[in-house]
């Protein structure tokens, strides 16, 4: 219950800002006479997905010797298909526009289905070596499956999984050695990982822009753009903070990219992406300040640079009028 809102509704009704019907409907909720349990249902569904997937993970770990990999893979696959069938029956048909899901549980069951598919494919690959030395390609397969499902069922969450899996395939996230001759050259090389991050990030941003311009799942554009910007700025920042002598070139690249991103986000009124670019420039700036001053008066420099970033953010907010 919100006593302030109850009083405000009465005042707004008197002032004819709200109609009687609106005031009646809003008042019922503000008084606590009608309460939505939707958030709690979503919490239960999410906890259910977490518990189920954790249980499956432990099952795979503990039982693959006793039951046998083929039976386990078949069981997980069957469960995934069951979930997918349930979700596909309840989620609306495909559309290039945004589709409102009428069934709150179907979204969660879809995510569960995708997680089971991913776990099953990983298990199959780890047990049967279907792809042999090119086993890392299974991540690409997983990301394609996720991507198709995300577009078919209009799920931003599944799209995020697809983008993460694709980035993982490129070895972006952890710079791990892929372990095959094909990738050995890149394994452990920060330069290769950085190039992958920047390349994949630029690809994501480009797809996001095309999505918005072509009005093809335009509401997915923020997911593409945010993921792309995090990868691009992460890659460039790793170059700036690297011990090598090329840091100044990376810093110049960061400055250019940051300026372009800030201008674009400013024009498009995009507070989240604006903040990502600001944060990247803020962190990158420390390298330059550190090199110039050689650590002299570090605390004062940190305070001054942080104050500059803070003032910039607050002033930008006022201009952007970035209300939630």
């Amino acid at each position: 219950m919100s006593p302030e809102t109850v009083a405000a509704i009465a005042r707004l009704r008197e002032d004819r800002i709200l109609s009687d019907a609106q005031a009646e409907a809003f008042g019922r909720v503000a008084r606590g006479d009608l309460l939505s349990v939707r958030a709690e249902l979503r919490l239960m569904l999410y906890a259910g997905v977490l518990l189920l997937t954790t249980g499956v993970g432990i099952f795979l770990k503990e039982n693959h010797d006793r039951i046998g990999p083929a039976a386990i893979a078949a069981a997980i696959g069957a469960a995934a298909l069951g979930c997918l069938w349930y979700a596909s029956r309840r989620l609306p048909p495909f559309s290039w526009g945004s589709v409102e899901s009428p069934h709150v549980a179907a979204d969660y069951v879809l995510v569960l289905a995708m997680l089971l598919v991913g776990a099953d494919l990983a298990y199959v690959e780890s047990q049967f070596r279907v792809l042999g030395p090119n086993w890392a390609y299974h991540l690409l397969i997983v990301s394609v499956v996720y991507l198709v499902a995300a577009y078919r069922f209009d799920s931003r969450a599944v799209l995020t999984l697809a983008l993460t899996s694709f980035a993982a395939w490129r070895g972006v996230a952890v710079g791990m050695p892929f372990g095959s001759s094909h990738y050995e050259a890149a394994a452990g090389s920060p330069g290769a990982v950085r190039a992958n991050a920047i390349g994949v990030g630029l690809l994501y941003v480009a797809v996001g822009v095309l999505s918005a311009r072509g009005r093809r799942k335009a509401h997915f554009e923020p997911v593409w753009a945010a993921a792309g910007m995090i990868l691009v700025f992460g890659g460039v920042l790793s170059g700036v903070l690297d011990d090598g002598g090329a840091w100044i070139a990376w810093l110049a690249a960061l400055a250019v990219l940051g300026a372009v991103a800030l201008l674009a986000c400013w024009r498009l009124r995009r507070p989240l992406e604006f903040a990502i670019a600001t944060a990247a420039l803020y962190v990158g700036g420390f390298r330059l300040l550190g090199e110039i001053t050689h650590g002299q008066g570090a605390l004062l420099i940190v305070a001054a640079w942080s104050t500059a970033a803070l003032v910039f953010l607050i002033r930008a907010t006022r201009r952007l009028k970035s209300t939630e």
Binding site: S2, P3, E4, A8, R11, L12, I17, V29, G32, S36, V37, R38, L41, L43, M44, L45, Y46, L50, L51, G57, I58, L60, E62, N63, H64, P69, S101, A105, Y108, V111, L115, A119, Y123, E125, S126, G132, W135, R156, A157, L159, T160, L161, T164, A167, A168, A173, V174, G179, S180, A227, P271, L272, L300, A303, S306, A309, L313, T317, S322, E324
Partner: protein
């Protein structure tokens, strides 16, 4: 809390509701503008991610400046007091400014509380002004006092929750700590319940009251829980933290019976109370307590392997959620006794959040042992990950 701050807190409540109406398309943009004109708020309002950034930046600025100015100082107690007081002054200024709620005031208040408690810890432990046992008790008391004052003055619910948790820790150090927990929690919940909706309290203070209520409810459940009874979790608070088995005798049979009944009944009471009184907070507390009771049951009764229990609990949770949604939608007006599964006027993003999906992805990562190598392949597996997701092969 100063009156103007409380007034702005009330205005913010109305404006938030209006934005919810707008996001549900129940009002149009001119109506929202008219409401915002009728309830003006001069404060800067930031996007959530920006507030985090501002919190970090202000934390860096405050600490860098303070350590720069006092770089030669050696007396931690005096430094803590001075820093704490300075930052408390900064918080006062920020709470009354148009930058209240931007993350800047949260940062200064947090560091103010931290430095004041650092001063207290230095005085009590490093200076050895009292014995260790008394020092621990006094330190907990300091957390209660500083947290309560910060919550009362600035209206941040997190400090109220910390103060309440410390208060229960303090009670646990007294004789009959478990009984005191039960009595204090029941009394606190009884006293706080009408204040959760009180128009006399500012919304920020109502949130503090809700935090106190939630911590008390958690304390009551902890006092009744069978695992807590058997392991003497509350009684352990009296000592320095040695293993309970070495200092406390096994619980009496009567206490175990109370524990068994409490583990079963407390979640049920919370859920029933929440449904009857239409209290979302109690509903969430009931669900959390039910989950803990299920974990307690699993600890004592091995009905199935862990994976089966987890998967079954997950399936049951999802099934119950789907059943509740169906039942509510089947009712006239899609509501039952004032409950509905419709989103009403809350701002809601479609579907599961991407970050939540990534967290679930991390939980889903399978860890099967690799199959034996065949045919001299060099592939040995590895790890992958990104944006919070990880996996191993």
């Amino acid at each position: 809390m100063r009156k103007p701050w409380a007034e702005l807190s009330r205005v913010e409540e109305v404006r938030d509701s209006a934005r919810g109406w707008k996001s549900a398309d129940a009002i149009d943009a001119p109506t929202l503008a008219a409401i915002e004109t009728a309830y003006p708020d001069p404060r800067v309002r930031l996007h959530g991610f920006w507030r985090v950034l501002v919190f970090v930046l202000v934390s860096v600025i405050a600490n860098a400046l303070i350590w720069f100015i006092f770089s030669g100082a050696r007396n931690l107690f005096a430094m803590g007091l001075v820093f704490g007081a300075l930052l408390a002054g900064a918080t006062e200024a920020l709470r009354g400014s148009r930058y209240a709620g931007t993350g800047a005031d949260s940062a200064t208040s947090f560091w103010s509380v931290t430095y004041l408690l650092t001063a207290a810890a230095d005085l009590l432990f490093r200076e050895n002004t009292v014995g260790d046992r008394a020092a621990i008790t006094l330190m907990i008391l300091a957390i209660v006092l500083v947290g309560a004052i910060a919550a009362w003055r600035w209206g941040f619910w997190l400090y109220a929750a910390c103060a309440a948790a410390a208060f229960y820790a303090l009670l646990g150090r007294l004789p009959f700590g478990r009984v005191l927990w039960m009595a204090a929690a029941i009394a606190a919940m009884w006293l706080l319940r009408p204040r959760l909706d009180s128009a006399r309290l500012a919304p920020a203070h109502r949130r503090c009251a809700a935090a106190l209520f939630a911590v008390s409810a958690a304390a009551l459940y902890a006092a009744f829980n069978l695992f807590s009874v058997d392991r003497h979790l509350i009684e352990m608070l009296r000592g320095y933290g040695p293993e309970a088995q070495t200092v406390v005798a096994p619980p009496a049979a009567a206490w175990r019976l109370v524990g068994k009944l409490g583990t079963l009944l407390v979640p049920a009471v919370y859920l029933a109370w929440g449904i009857r009184a239409r209290r979302r907070l109690l509903l969430v507390l009931g669900l959390a307590a039910a989950a803990l009771s299920a974990a307690t049951l699993r600890y004592y009764v091995h009905i199935a392997p862990l994976w089966a229990v987890l998967a079954a609990c997950g399936a049951i949770l999802m099934g119950v959620a789907i059943a509740i949604q169906r039942a509510l939608r089947a009712r006239a007006g899609e509501e039952w006794r004032g409950w509905t599964a419709a989103p009403l006027y809350e701002r809601e993003r479609g579907g599961i959040s991407p970050l939540a999906a990534l967290a679930a992805h991390a939980a889903a990562a399978a860890h099967p042992a690799p199959a034996p190598e065949r045919g001299g392949l060099e592939t040995g597996g590895g790890e992958y990950g990104g944006g919070g997701a990880t996996g191993r092969y």
